[in-house]
Amino acid sequence: MDLMLWRMIKHSKAQFIAVLVVIAMGIAMFTAISLAGFNLDDSKDRYYQENGFMDFSISVDQIPASLIDDLRSMPGIRAAEGRITAEVPFIAENADRVNVKLLSMPSEGYEINQLLMREGRSIQDPNNEAVILSQFADGRKISVGDDIVIQVNGLRCSLRVVGIAYSPEFIYLIESIQSMMPAEEGYGVVYVDELLAMQLLGMYGAYNEVFFLYDLDHQGHFRPGLTEDDLIDDIEKKAEPYGHKASVLRKDQLSNALIGEEINGLKGMGVSIPILFLLVAASVIAMMVSRMVKKDRIKIGVMKAIGYSNRSVLGHYVKYALTAGLIGGMAGILLGYQIAGYMTTMYADFFEIPSYGMKIYWAFIVGGLLLSCIFCMAFGAYGARGSLRILPAESMQSESPREGKRIFLESLPFLWKRLRFSQKLVMKNVFRNKKRSLFVLMGVSLTYGTLMFTMTMPGIIDEMMVKQYEEYQTMDYNVSFSRPLLNTVRRDLLHELSDPTYVEGRIEQPFEFSVGNREKTVVMIGVASDSRVFNLRDRREQKIVPRGGQVLITENLAKALDVAPGDRLLAKSFLAGEKEAYLTVQDIVKQTMGMNAYMDLTDMGDRLMEHGAINGVYINTEDPDVVAKLREMENVSTILSSQDMKDMFSEYTGLMSIMIGVLVMLSGVLGFSIVYNATIVSIGERKMEFSSLRVMGFGKDEIFRMILSENIIISIAGIVAGIPMGYAMTTYFAESFSSDLYTLYLTPTPGATLRSLGFTVAFLLVAQFATFEKIRKLDFLLALKNRTS
């Protein structure tokens, strides 16, 4: 039996290899993505644990150092540390300026958000030494021993870099959520001694941030009677008198949230795509085995006549499928393990997570192999079930002709009569084996759908960047002030910047929105009623402006709070004095990046801040020195340029095109495998039919054209069915990847639809022409002699 199995494999080697490739790719992806995802997660967790990544933090105006001891002694708190933070300009040698986060480091030991030194040492001389974050050092090519200049409160301060470090707090370093992509040279973190920070920022004996580590048991739980919510409430109450601005849980910490999104996306892909591949491979196996059983009818009859049981006959064919599962699975695991290594290193390098080596998760290796074997065995058994019905005596007799049936098109005489006979023949063949036609149709749909979704992916960049910065928001710069100012400050800015310049006041302030027990902290933006830089659009893409007493919210915020237009929500400010107001949801607006709420600027100032106040401006200008001029101005804290962010995304498109290439290739492998295998099986089953045609005088090219026509019809139907599938996949992708951080609006464009059509047709043609060789080599004499073929 095993010898027969080996010969069976040898005989169908081309198809067997095609199946192996699909299985191996599926399992390789499963192993690679899962291993990379879990290793990355592990590395991150270990990094967090070893470096005491914060569990919780608060931002305040100023909190006295003495209160930190009080906070530290709270039940449920293991450690509490204060820090001074400020956004300050970094002045490069060429006078280029970017923002850096200036952070204080305790002079003595500290426990939370510990730095991992890459080079150099910690600060020893508190007066002029600094440690800088690794990403910024690389981006700006700063080495240990270099001097850097920062500007604090208008004063330039030269610092000697003594160390370059990683921080668990800034694995994903971006200036704000609006930046989206990390830009190593564009934003950095500079650590100075606590005393120096206090001195520079005039915060003697006080901090503006406090970090906490929870006191948890081994299972990660608080001691009985204590909950995180209660603890946070207590902390916030204590911080209130000191101008509590915001509270951040570990899960919401920007870097952690972004890296979490990446890893979760990776893990999700590790299941869905491989399952798709395995399903295709297993279906092809079922088809091949079913064909073998038909071909081996006499052999099976003889085996049964000799005394082999149904189970051993079925087992013989299941073994064939199992062999494919085992070989394909093992090849996939080996390949996947290699790829996982590269992927983990690539991701770890990208995120600057220290490498802790590649951990082998046997569960995935065994799981991958099991998955592959189970899929193949189950589908193999399904394909071989026909062997159970074969009776020894019947198998020796010639098979009676398959039942012929009229196809539904024949009941449409006006159409049927218009077809030429050869066209009728093709149609009859298409409908003759409905299962196989359906399989090819689904394969083509899947290929087309996957390609359509792949081709739509570049739309992510378009959607996120073009929509955000060319449609919804058209400001060149978003400038934040270090404190609220009167709207009249716009005149000063206009005076400083050369014409043509447009300056529009704005408020951007974090608020806690709550409805019932659902709450979310987001930045609310006060937009001028005659805004020329904000083009807020409702879900029907109609322009909309915030009305007094009402609030416009983004789709993801509406989803998070489960509110609809007309609902009321409570907006609570984090500013000292804590203002709050009930606001009615006016409508839901489209936005690709971030989660925000919008109010009328004047109304927002009146209700939630102070009359006529703004805390920043949006600027449109052609002044080439705008950034330099703004940096020199008092009260300007951060400057975000739309162009810089667009440029960053352009760089990202390079990475995206590699990903698209891989996905196109995978879709091609799927399409090729399905069409090639289905056609080969079809040719095998119809050998006698084709031989009869050859004897009758049909040429090889005529027979090939007949098969080609059949596949073209099925493929056209498949492509038509693939359009909604592509749309569904794109929508699913957009929804599953949308988060608090960004919302994807992906709709396949006509261009993407056409490009996918081109690729699908190309893949199908390659598969089709690969089968021509089989027709060319068809031995029609042998087929005619063998009545069972």
Partner: protein, 234 residues
Amino acid sequence: MGIILEAKNLKKSYQMGEVEVRALRGANFAVEEGSFVVILGPSGSGKSTLLNILGGMDVPDSGEVIVSGQTVTSLSDKELTQYRRTKVGFVFQFYNIMASLTARENVELATEIAENPLDIDQIMEAVGLKERAEHFPSQMSGGEQQRVSIARAIAKNPDLLLCDEPTGALDFQTGVTILALLAKINKDMGKTVIVITHNAGIADMADRVFRMRSGEIVEDRSNPTPLSPEEITW
């Protein structure tokens, strides 16, 4: 009547595993136009190989086949396809008709590619399947299926009808009706019919009988008084 087919010193060997089988060892014979010929021989005598070469489905190692003045053995693959399309019709032991097509459609399949096809309705009537024309093979008996196969073969209006054990899968009575149909085609339509069989009884209805043994024609005899199919027995 003139010679329609001439085979000259046909030799053919092929490998069967590691064994070389000499199927034809120099077969020579000629067939007159409009005759009913039976090539008789036991299994392994080379008669199927001979029929395949005559029908342009196989090529000899040496020797010539000339049909209606055309040397078939020197034709290219494309020309052989054309030869099969226009000059010869085949009838097989196991019918080899399309299960997904009705009787009529099976015949239509042949007329599609023929240069000078016969009228389908007339053929269906001639083979006695006028009433069963819209039936599928699965709805027909073996004899009816073989009639479809014959109708398909003659629909192209070929010069030669080559039949490989046409009654091999049928019972005696049905076999006789099929032979009667072949005789009718030979007589009424003037087609040259060559039947290969191991069944010596069929030889009695032939105008000419070639007996084969071990790849050679060992007997060539004319039958001046052929019996009607109804008279023969086996």
